[in-house]
């Protein structure tokens, strides 16, 4: 099915949900509002003409200064039977970063959404088990946000660094560093 047809049917069924459509290098994309995402996902998955059975990828993007609203969650869909693709860009506001979970439609979204939460702090309503996945459970901050620095928070020294320096001073008492010089 042609991407323009998909947009047409979606716009008919879910009036006002489609914000914009785009095409870059032959890859069609639709920008959506988040409110009726779950219904749209079910429609794309279940309708025999669409049959988007494979969720290839789900990830977040942080458009800190480039765009408003700040976040987007991107769904790359593919239909193995009909061999057509579509990309959904769902807009998520910074003040209330949450959107409906699609883990009930595609099971593969389960871990992807956990990762998105882990990296961007976007919560997914109705997710079965929303925990951090790649970072430790007690990690502070969301690493892939654009305001999260590459070299740790606020370019501060690593918290344990002072401790190491202190230990090094203690070891000097025993003269261990002198042995190394020989």
């Amino acid at each position: 099915m042609e991407p323009s047809q998909i947009v047409k049917i979606l716009d008919g069924g879910f009036a006002g949900e489609v914000i914009a459509t785009s095409e870059f290098r032959g890859q069609p994309g639709i920008t959506l509002k988040k409110d009726r995402l779950l219904d749209i996902a079910r429609c794309l998955h279940d309708t025999p003409e669409f049959k988007f059975d494979l969720l290839r990828d789900l990830c977040g993007v942080d458009y800190k200064k480039m765009k408003k609203p700040r976040f987007e969650v991107v769904y790359n869909l593919y239909s193995i039977t009909h061999r057509h693709t579509i990309r959904l860009n769902v807009q998520v506001d910074e003040k209330q970063p949450s959107l409906p979970s699609v883990a009930g439609v595609w099971k593969t979204a389960d871990w992807h959404e956990r990762e998105c939460f882990d990296m961007y702090g976007i919560t997914f309503d109705g997710h079965p088990d929303l925990r951090r996945i790649l970072m430790p459970e007690d990690w502070e901050g969301y690493p892939l946000r654009k305001d999260y620095p590459m070299a740790g928070p606020d370019d501060e020294e690593w918290a344990g660094f002072k401790e190491v320096l202190k230990k090094a001073e203690e070891f000097k008492k025993f003269g261990w560093h002198l042995n190394e010089r020989k």
Binding site: Q27, D53, I133, M150
Partner: protein, 397 residues
């Protein structure tokens, strides 16, 4: 008699990994077992998280290639090819025909080497030690060929945006052709060892069954999906490089169990071997790097050494990278030995990717592990981990 009333049975929690030899890396599984049966399985990943996506945002497009080697370190060639394809799609760069054939050839070599390692360790986990030694014998030959080609055995960094780093030598081609002549017999050797081995059959047939519909829903790709009978191969559905120019079949299983996934991968090795052979026979002469987009691709080495402008050009590309890129977003997938590896790149027009997302097959395959393990025995967990073929470097990124 009163004492027996107080005896209760309760579920026990077993921690498997992260330092367990059969988890192929650092995967931790929390298993809740009732007797020998697994009631609940919870995987914990992230031990090898290196923040590749964040790192790539701070680097130019060219600098990120070595990072991609370290994702799936067993078949780094296919990762590099996948990344370069994504960037080429973003920049809209075409490849010379010779580069396409070389890339296809080395990708398939990488696939054979990865499948051999999978076969060796998978069999070792289940208890067939001999196959390990046989498979590593052939894997060594491929790694030596890689070393001859680019100097590295594992982290190759051989493909470049718009082509490959250096041309293949005649000696390399001859040795590789010799290998492709001999390899089908070697596959037969492995099969005589395990195909009808009674222990192997008992440990694999009917274990970890997943239906076609469920496998798609869980997002499985590669041989893990094809073992369930779904005909999805990125090389056929979205042909890249020279895959539309060579003939090959996509093996498909029927029952979706560990044994069918094993059969699929064994047949894939034969197909890869045939692809390499076709590539060698059809290898055209010509440049190995495109000259259509001089702003984004490296100039040929002989020009760099003899021409001042090319040298400056080479220097700025390496140190600063291309200063501009077309703004837009692309998702490009390739078929790596594990499954579908996708790169989703968002470009804001500067020389660095605004966002680079790596869709790694291992991550999704580990997510499906509870579905395969629950209801089975503890001993079958290692069979299941082997059959979905994961590498934790790629899973945690």
């Amino acid at each position: 008699m009163d004492e027996t009333k107080e005896l209760k049975t309760r579920e026990m929690v077993i921690n498997m990994g992260p330092q367990h030899p059969s988890t192929h890396g650092v995967l931790r599984l929390r298993l809740e077992v009732s007797g020998e049966t697994i009631v609940k399985c919870t995987p914990y990943v992230g031990y090898l998280h290196r923040g590749t996506e964040k790192l790539a945002e701070s680097m130019t497009y060219l600098q990120s290639i070595p990072l991609m080697d370290r994702l799936d370190y067993i078949s780094s060639m296919t990762n590099d090819v996948g990344y370069c394809l994504a960037v080429e799609r973003l920049f809209d760069i075409g490849l010379p025909l010779r580069a396409k054939y070389i890339r296809t050839m080395v990708s398939e070599m990488s696939r054979i080497s990865s499948h051999l390692l999978w076969l060796a360790t998978h069999a070792l986990d289940i208890g067939a030690m001999t196959v390990f030694l046989y498979a590593f014998r052939e894997r060594e030959r491929i790694l030596e060929l890689f070393e001859q080609l680019c100097g590295a055995r594992l982290t190759v960094t051989y493909p470049r945006i718009g082509g490959v780093r250096n041309d293949v030598s005649q000696e390399f081609i001859d040795t590789l052709y010799q290998f492709t002549e001999e390899f089908p017999d070697k596959i037969k050797e492995y099969e005589t060892l395990i195909n009808v081995n009674r222990i192997w059959l008992k440990r694999t047939i009917g274990i970890g069954i997943i239906s076609a519909e469920e496998a798609v829903n869980y997002g499985l790709t590669g041989a893990a999906l094809r073992g369930s009978g779904v005909d999805y191969d990125v090389r056929k559905h979205f042909p890249y490089d020279a895959y539309s120019l060579v003939k090959f079949d996509v093996p498909i299983g029927k029952n979706g169990d560990v044994y069918d996934r094993y059969l699929c991968r064994m047949e894939e090795m034969r197909q890869s071997n045939s692809i390499i052979k076709q590539c060698i026979e059809a290898l055209p002469t010509g440049p190995i790097m495109t000259s259509d987009s001089p702003k984004f691709t490296l100039p040929p080495k002989d020009k760099v050494l003899n021409n001042m402008e090319s040298l400056i050009h080479h220097f700025t590309l390496i140190t600063k990278g291309p200063m501009t890129a077309p703004a837009g977003e692309v998702y490009v997938a390739t078929e790596v030995p594990k499954g579908e590896l996708g790169f989703y790149i968002v470009s804001d027009g500067t020389g660095r990717p605004y966002r680079m997302r790596i869709r790694s097959p291992s991550f999704i395959h580990v997510a499906a592990l509870p579905r395969l393990c629950e209801g089975g025995f503890i001993a079958d967990v290692v069979a299941n981990i082997g059959s979905i073929d994961v590498v934790l470097g790629e899973c945690d990124r």
